[in-house]
């Protein structure tokens, strides 16, 4: 059976660190960075490679920060 893998690209300078995406991810892929972006927000970052490309994080992000890819391998 083909395995589904995903990847997200986080535009960290647009991220406002609201954390809404972290609670939406079924794979616990996202956590907040200890560093801050240019606006001073702790931005979202990937902390594992378990993304399945479900888009949950992107659809709840108020600032359209996340781009999602999904592929069968």
């Amino acid at each position: 059976m083909a395995k589904v893998v995903g990847d997200i690209v986080i535009d960290i300078e647009r991220c406002k660190g609201c954390e809404v995406c972290t609670t939406a991810c079924p794979q616990d892929v996202i956590a907040m960075a200890s560093e801050v972006n240019g606006k001073g927000y702790h931005y979202a970052m990937k902390v594992n490679g378990n993304c399945i490309g479900c888009s949950n994080c992107a659809v709840v992000c108020p600032d359209a920060v996340i781009t999602v890819y999904r592929a069968k391998i």
């Binding site: 995903g6 406002k16 609201c18 954390e19 709840v60 992000c61 108020p62 600032d63 999602v68 592929a71």
Partner: protein, 262 residues
């Protein structure tokens, strides 16, 4: 170098499943972190893109936190005086009956100062779409009590909570306008979880598609958070909204195809 967990090999156009719609400009929205205004803007912009009506859409911006909505939607926009968006939209739609016309309004704008314009546009059955973001508070001006503020809910002008005996009852304007013969579709949604976002987007799509039918006004309430006004983090505000706002403002369709649900 630290591990990145990136998979650059799958980042190809055919694998792209989500990216920011071009109907939103590249301006960074001024909304507070986690504010539902951003999500609601995004959904409406995605619907406009998917319907292919970017050049056929005219939006009316309100007064309130979303006063600058015209900086974010890459469609023709007109600013209205506080509460008057449905009156301005009426004129626009009557002058351009083939355009898709929407207003985007907060609860202070729509259900306080603009109550008359809202009710009469709905009752006249203007063939347009109203997007109503209800966060139970005046967000922009510092979290004052709104007509929509819940009983017992603290705000900057009701610091001990809204006392119904002295401050009156909250106004369920969405249920009220659903009773009017001019409304064709009335629904209440939220945008705080992936499932709710997907439902809300379908509702907004329906509300915009309905304009093709010429059967009356479509009204989408989005029960939303005001993290700053409620003085909670975005994630806690969303939980508070589920526990407190949804029992009073239950989600779901109220009127479909001109018929009250239930």
């Amino acid at each position: 170098m630290a591990e990145t967990f990136d998979r650059p090999e799958i980042r190809t156009p055919e694998n792209l499943v989500y990216s920011k719609t071009n109907v939103l400009t590249d301006n960074i929205m001024h909304y507070c972190p986690g504010c539902g205004h951003g999500t609601t803007h995004r959904l409406l912009a995605e619907v406009i893109e998917e319907m292919g009506i970017q050049s056929e859409t005219i939006g009316i911006a309100p007064v309130g936190c979303s006063v600058l909505a015209y900086n974010y939607f890459d469609v023709d926009m007109q600013e209205a005086a506080h509460g008057r968006a449905p009156a301005v939209a009426t004129a626009v739609k009557r002058l351009f009956p083939n355009k898709f016309v929407f207003t985007y309004q907060g609860d202070g704008d729509l259900a306080a100062i603009g109550t008359a314009e809202t009710i009469h546009a709905c009752n006249r059955g203007e063939n347009m779409t109203i997007i109503f973001v209800n966060n139970g508070i005046y967000g922009m001006t510092g979290g004052q009590m709104a007509p929509t503020t819940l009983p017992g809910m603290p705000t900057s002008t009701s610091p001990y909570g809204r006392e119904v005996a002295t401050m009156g009852n909250p106004l369920k304007i969405t249920e009220l306008i659903a009773q009017l013969p001019g409304t064709y579709y009335v629904t209440r949604q939220s945008v705080h979880t992936p499932a709710n976002v997907r439902k809300a987007k379908k509702a907004i799509r329906q509300a915009m598609e309905n304009q093709k039918l010429n059967r009356g006004l479509s009204f989408v309430e989005v029960v939303s958070n005001c993290n700053s006004g409620w003085k909670l983090s975005p994630v806690k505000a969303n939980k508070w909204m589920e526990d407190n706002m949804f029992p009073f403002y239950p989600l779901g369709d109220i009127k479909v195809n001109g018929e009250l649900v239930k």
